[in-house]
Symmetry: C2
Subunit: 251 residues, 2 copies
DNA sequence: GAGTGGTCTAGACCACCAA
DNA sequence: TGGTGGTCTAGACCACTCT
């Protein structure tokens, strides 16, 4: 059984996918769809809302319902991509990475587990915003254990817990300088629909999920040096990994 | 300005998050919410629909609107996790990996680019379903160039283009046996809302995005041996990568 | 059968944008 | 000012589940 609003949604989706309504154009206005399909306003709205939740269109008050550009981000299949890249799609937009908040805090249970620290441990907590163009593409929560942050402060003079003290060099280099070179990290990726806070910060359109990355960075003795949680707008970010395999060499 | 339905959605979300309505329980029925907030039926439905689209609840006809278990999948922060794992969350459920379709086809533009093949090249195309428990967790589309598939057929006798010919050994081992050992792969991950087909195949609840992985596997001369597109239900799958870093050793 | 959610209507009012 | 989408109502009927 397909309902009335599903019929309408399917018909509109077909026309979006076959190019009848190309990206940037508008689908017919609600009153027009009401006449076309001889249904009530709310029925049309149900259909349009569905398409919005699929990420296909963005309704704009006073303007119309415009078709979004959902071009797959999968451009740039160069075999030599770096381990972690921004999307190639939009080319030369300006990117930045700013520390918004920083300070000491008592780590909660989750962070303690990730960093393998005893209960009550102090850590440096930093919040970073990574932007591309005018929009925030990614929010990063980062935690660094006491002894690592202190070592960096003593060696390089950089106070990680001070948001105004902008570090020019990246954290991994600072760790290395402080005698804690990172050897590997482990990244776990999942995605889900955003909560209202995330919608606000990332300025997410309806129907765009967030991609979450949990990272733990460790040294060559498998001792955690840092952990971070990345929350990325999935229409602005993708991640690429290069994974070494071990075949044909005695395995 | 917060609208009436947003108020209701926010109130319900708060109670879900603070544990008043724990996972598996039901939020109040629509008629009850109508009385509580003194609004019309559609207004309540709007609020509930929103929560469903956020992935927090699943309305069930004849039953009620139940709170979904959104426990983060981030369990198992063992520093020694394998490069690619199923979620640890649900423990010992049975998993399977079945070839649903297989055959030769002329590769389209996208696949040609990934495999660095000339126009008109023939490839083996396989569709696999990876299930956990009763549900399909992941759909895999896989393409293998002519010369690799032929080499495997000649060496091992396994016909990749035959869905009924179930291979017991995995593809990477078959490649290695056929003289094409894979050296590394590159995986690009993004996520988006599912289209209706994906909703049907993966039996996705409302509000659950799909996580897409594009993989290209290459040999030590950077020649592509295989490419695949994974479409995973993001509430059933997460991916973990272990990334080697290069600090403190002359860099 | 009683209770749940799902669809749909006809009409109203509001917020927003562009000419 | 006229057209766009967004919210809300009061009521109806339907599909489904459980007892």
């Amino acid at each position: 059984m397909t309902t009335r609003w599903q019929e309408i949604a399917n018909a509109l989706r077909d026309r979006i996918e076959d190019g009848t309504y190309p990206a940037g154009s508008k689908i017919p206005a609600i009153p027009e769809l009401m006449r076309d399909y001889d249904v009530a306003r709310e029925t049309v709205r149900q259909a349009v809302t569905r398409l919005a939740n699929e990420g296909l269109v963005t309704p704009l008050r006073g303007v119309g319902t415009v078709v979004r550009d959902t071009t797959p981000v999968q451009l740039g299949y160069t075999a030599s991509a770096p381990a972690r890249t921004w999307d190639v799609q939009t080319g030369e937009e300006k990117t930045s990475d700013r520390v918004i908040e920083a300070g000491w805090e008592t780590a909660d249970e989750d962070i303690l587990a990730r960093l393998q620290l005893p209960k009550g441990s102090q850590v440096v907590h930093r919040v970073r915003h990574m932007t591309r163009g005018q929009q925030i593409a990614q929010v990063v929560d980062q935690w660094i254990p006491d002894h690592v942050a202190t070592a960096i402060a003593n060696t390089t003079g950089d106070d990680l817990a001070d948001a105004n003290h902008q570090q020019s060099t990246d954290l991994y280099s600072q760790m290395t300088a402080a005698g804690h070179p990172p050897a590997w990290d482990e990244e776990t990726i999942r995605s889900r629909m955003p909560d209202p806070d995330e919608v606000a910060v990332l300025e997410l359109p309806v129907g765009v999920p967030v991609q979450i990355t949990y990272r733990v960075t460790s040294n060559d003795k498998d001792q955690p040096l840092e952990t971070a949680t990345f929350v990325a707008a999935s229409d602005r970010m993708s991640q690429t990994f290069r994974v070494p395999l071990h075949y044909g060499k005695g395995e």
